[in-house]
Symmetry: C2
Subunit: 364 residues, 2 copies
């Protein structure tokens, strides 16, 4: 049942204590020019992504972020502005700063506005890659609210349904709600798998199942991950996932004057261009509908029911949105964040280049 069966755990040569990851990321961000408080905030959010199992959105991204910052593609001293445009809406202009800073401001704004107005919708323009959707969707939950987050992805790896040109991204959706065990968090891309999973299969020399990529030339399945550049990621549910990616693009991009479609630059290759990444963040205050305690009690009852329900043959355990995230956080806080040797070597080189103390040289 698990599509990402080549997990980082299997190729984890090292385990990195969360506090160490956070201090290292913070030092790197300071070294490339972020103010100390901003560097600390980015470090905390990236480490949280690693702790909650979003391996493609934590310290793994650091070398890429640094490349873009040093090439002038990201503003290290942004004046992030928040314009409240109505009682329950705001537009955040990220001034091309790190996405983590911009989207967390949007989340804080949404929470504050929703406290007064019951719900808030905050659009974001001129931002950058911000990491995993679940991180932001979950922010309102601590305030007794439901969070919604969506974004235009920072590269187009998908075509519109029927098309063969890379004009749509994996545009992610995050939805999080309170429960007795912590946030129930859905964090999903609109493609069957992420491009990161394809890269993992390529590294492992494994054939991919049919249904992940389609061959641009033939329209048939593409299963050799080394040929991924000749293919397109497939959306979930065919035309449905394609449509969802499009609508998330309108909500995250076009509505906020941010990039979508042909205007999206591929941040893997374009280092110095402003991405004009768009996102949206909404918060819904539960108590304006039902008392928070009864929402939590009813949600817990339903989740318990689903968890205890009869299983298909071969299924050991039913997992619900947010379960892996929660378990991962406990395990990784205790045992550290799994780190492949190749990534550690990359981080060592980065440290040397920037004159930052290497991970291995830090006291644990």
């Amino acid at each position: 049942m698990n599509m990402t069966d080549i997990s980082r755990e299997q190729d984890a040569d090292h385990r990195l204590a969360a506090a160490l990851a956070e201090s290292f990321i913070g030092d790197v961000m300071t070294a490339v020019g972020l103010p100390a408080s901003d560097a600390a905030k980015v470090a905390r959010l990236m480490t949280e992504a690693d702790l909650t199992g979003a391996d493609a959105h934590g310290i793994f991204r650091l070398p890429q972020y640094v490349r873009r910052i040093r090439a002038g593609g990201v503003n290290t001293r942004p004046q992030i502005s928040v314009e409240q445009t109505a009682a329950a809406t705001a537009l955040v202009d990220g001034d091309n700063g790190m996405g983590h800073l911009v989207v967390s401001r949007a989340a804080e704004t949404a929470i504050a506005l929703a406290r007064a107005a019951g719900v808030a919708w905050v659009g974001v323009r001129r931002s950058n890659h911000a990491g995993t959707a679940g991180l932001y969707a979950a922010m309102p939950v601590a305030h007794g609210m439901i969070g919604l987050y969506g974004a235009v992805a920072n590269a187009n790896h998908m075509a519109v349904w029927g098309g063969s040109e890379l004009l749509l991204g994996t545009n992610p959706l995050g939805i999080a709600a309170p429960s007795g065990q912590g946030p129930v968090v859905l964090d999903m891309a609109t493609t069957v798998v992420s491009y990161g999973t394809v890269k993992k299969y390529a590294l492992a020399g494994r054939e991919m199942p049919e249904g992940w990529l389609v061959d641009t030339q033939t329209g048939g399945p593409l299963t050799d991950p080394k040929r991924s550049a000749e293919g397109l990621l497939l959306p979930i549910g065919g035309y449905k996932g394609s449509g969802l990616a499009l609508m998330l693009g309108l909500l995250g991009g076009v509505l906020n004057g941010a990039a979508f479609g042909r205007d999206v630059i591929d941040f893997n290759y374009n280092q110095d261009g402003a991405a004009n990444t768009g996102h949206f963040m909404a918060a819904i205050d539960v108590k304006r509908f039902v008392p928070l305690a009864s929402f939590v009690a009813q949600t817990d009852r339903h989740l318990a029911d689903l968890r205890a329900s009869k299983r298909l043959p071969g299924v050991d355990q039913i997992r619900l949105p947010g379960d892996r995230r929660r378990e991962c956080r406990i395990e990784r806080l205790r045992d550290g964040i799994p780190l492949p040797a190749a990534l550690l070597a990359q981080l060592d080189r980065l440290a040397a280049e920037l004159g930052v103390r290497a991970l291995r040289a830090r006291p644990v």
Copy 2:
């Protein structure tokens, strides 16, 4: 590319003028006890579903609605109440009235609140089946707004990912935005296909492709539509669609004190029980983010770009969310709504039972 390749057009023995459909539905609803203005509203919305190609949500549903009304399962004289709970939120109690009346009240409320507050989120409890998601999601578009709609389906045809018990519905999501050609409308269930499509394959004696249903006993694919009762509908994107159905269930059901999970009654079999159907309806006022004209211009540019993009081999035309809906509406307004002979016969019996003039006896 089209999953529903057995369309109603193919088995359409008759074509029914939209005005005739609407007057017939209105008369039937009046005959079973709805006030004239409510009957007219339900008739208009059901006909609109037929016009826009949502064949499973228009006049096809009339016999079922009448059965539930006559069995006492639906209140024909509801006191629908709208409680505004904050500047941008409201809770609608449908008093067990027809879903169409309840959800359109919710949409009107969302539009009015969003005009003042920029965005509005309206929860609905104690409602009933309301037809197609796109119908309601599109309502704010005429007001320069983006619409979001979600609901807990009126029967559980899906299990949670890994499970084999029918505890989740096809919980639909609708998102609609303005464009130069009219609303861009995503209207999707969280399952790969609807139960209606399975029924159509059974009627046609056709084998279904793998990936639509899974066999409850073996966990393998189920492709014989006659055995559908032994299977489960599969969610789009595996655990993603299951997670999305769950989150829509929390937003549409639990947040509003409405039914979800084991509390959902199957309205195909239970005629006299109150369904306590939950929905949500949100409206986002475009002009609080960018001027409406520039949203429309940018959306049009992107849609044109996607439409004109290179196609996969064998694809004649790229279709975007809302295209089929728009074309269908033009074609059916001109040529009438396709009606299979079996459905017409059913409607004739209904007319006779209720003392309503039969469709065939009405002047065109």
